[in-house]
Symmetry: C2
Subunit: 339 residues, 2 copies
Amino acid sequence: MSDLRRSVILRSRPKGLPTPDNFSVEEQAMPQPAEGEVLTRTLWLSLDPYMRGRMSDAASYAAPIEIDAPMMGETVGEVVASRDPRFQPGQVVVGAWGWQSHIVTPGDKLIALPKGAPYSAYLGVLGMPGITAYTGMKDIGQPKPGETVVISAASGAVGAVAGQLAKRAGARVVGVVGNPDKSLYVQETLGFDDCIDHRAVLDLDAALRESCPDGIDIYFENVGGDLQQAVFPLLNPFGRVIMCGMVAEYNDAKPRPGPNLMSVVRKRLRIEGFIVSDKPERFAEWRALAAPWVADGSLHYREHVVDGLENAPEAFIDLLRGHNFGKLVVRVGEVSHGG
Amino acid sequence: MSDLRRSVILRSRPKGLPTPDNFSVEEQAMPQPAEGEVLTRTLWLSLDPYMRGRMSDAASYAAPIEIDAPMMGETVGEVVASRDPRFQPGQVVVGAWGWQSHIVTPGDKLIALPKGAPYSAYLGVLGMPGITAYTGMKDIGQPKPGETVVISAASGAVGAVAGQLAKRAGARVVGVVGNPDKSLYVQETLGFDDCIDHRAVLDLDAALRESCPDGIDIYFENVGGDLQQAVFPLLNPFGRVIMCGMVAEYNDAKPRPGPNLMSVVRKRLRIEGFIVSDKPERFAEWRALAAPWVADGSLHYREHVVDGLENAPEAFIDLLRGHNFGKLVVRVGEVSHGG
């Protein structure tokens, strides 16, 4: 353990797609925990599209990251020093936030992880993205046997779980992805019924119509843009649109027009947004439900691992361009032998 | 009783706003009820904006009216001849459909009306529009004390009831209307907290912001267009948009762009369409709830009465232009002395 901690700092607010200039990596004196706090050494850092929103000062559901403050992101870390009696050095915990090598966090915010599942899974399939997929499907989508469910960003951390949940409910599931490898993965490993590679088709509307001959009952929205426009005309009466994210539009300088909403009346559609943190009870619920599926291999997930905190900015930019394949995590440190 | 019945026939499909040429008034031989059917003489005909949708052959939730078929609309009528033992001549019933002086209907579709409330109320405050307002508020809006509720077409048959229900729930209610008399009515008679005359303000966005200093929690959508665009940025987190109709856009040849849906994610909005006929159980529920309020005068309603079936087309065109003031009903006949 060095005497310095490294942090990735937000230097300026991006216009459009972030660039490496918006970030800097800095070293500071190692912080020490005060009473009730815990110092962790980061093992895994989660990178997720929603962070793009926190880099802007536009109105959002959460306060923006301040300029010159560390970027935010959930981590799995190993306890280095603890002034909370519930935590001891060597324990692995989730719930410390920051693109940082070391983080001080109130013990109340931390959860000790059991051994068994890989720790990084608690940032993905058993973490925020998995819980996001579960919450959207449970509270809004409610897939029924025989319904057609379309999942955007289908090979991603949220989409892969959302689609597998719809399959478990007996629905017909169509994924949309951005390259042929992802398309293969979605169909062969995740078991979706069909998958569209939106970069490989000339006419997205026609491709979607062909893949969804009975219309669309549920759309899990992660991307927005052209796909959203293509989905709306195909929605069936009583269709549900789970508004989880619109990553294709996060870098837009001004908002694009949305779909005309007359069909919402005619077809009695339900379009609903949600944020996973609104329902904290879903976390434990999902982990209890899904941990056995992860253990028995019936719930598939895939990670895209980048090594080194200093590579987080570039990995994050690639994520926004859809260049990741699976849940993007940064390996910041190794578990110590004592841990 | 003459030996002929008069019908308003759909002659051609309108492009944009309907014109008198789209309709014709015709006389035919008087129909007779078959076994189980009832012949009614129409007393009141309801005219409602949704009928514009049935005049088009665009995809909708209901089949379009056929060319050369009578226009459709709910009526209150007096039984003239009955081959259903539950109905006798002279009874007044609701549930026969058509812009017609006389209508034959299966007895199963008819409900005999009690004496007491004016019969025309069963086409308005106690009929489809009132039930529409009730269903939207109960199932989607769910107003809470202190919330801000915006009602478009606030002096109309649906809006007036929707706003009064929100007031009863303890919300702050802001109406939007299209002329000063309606604005006065909405504030002084219906008791809304504020009202915007959208034709009298230079900047609708600014006027709405001023009337809703705490944002908007619920929007009851009857009109679409510019007002919808103005409402979206003011919606509060967890806001609900009750998608009941978009009359300002019913005559559009091609759909206008809708609001960008990124705010649906950020603010966890719920945008939901519904059609009153999806939940038939709401009809009896609402009549039981509201009939005492109509009787004691605490639920206000206003009718715009037009005399004579032959004037229905022009009255309907005026309705689509917002020229009515209150629930539009056509007085087609008088109650007979024997009834």
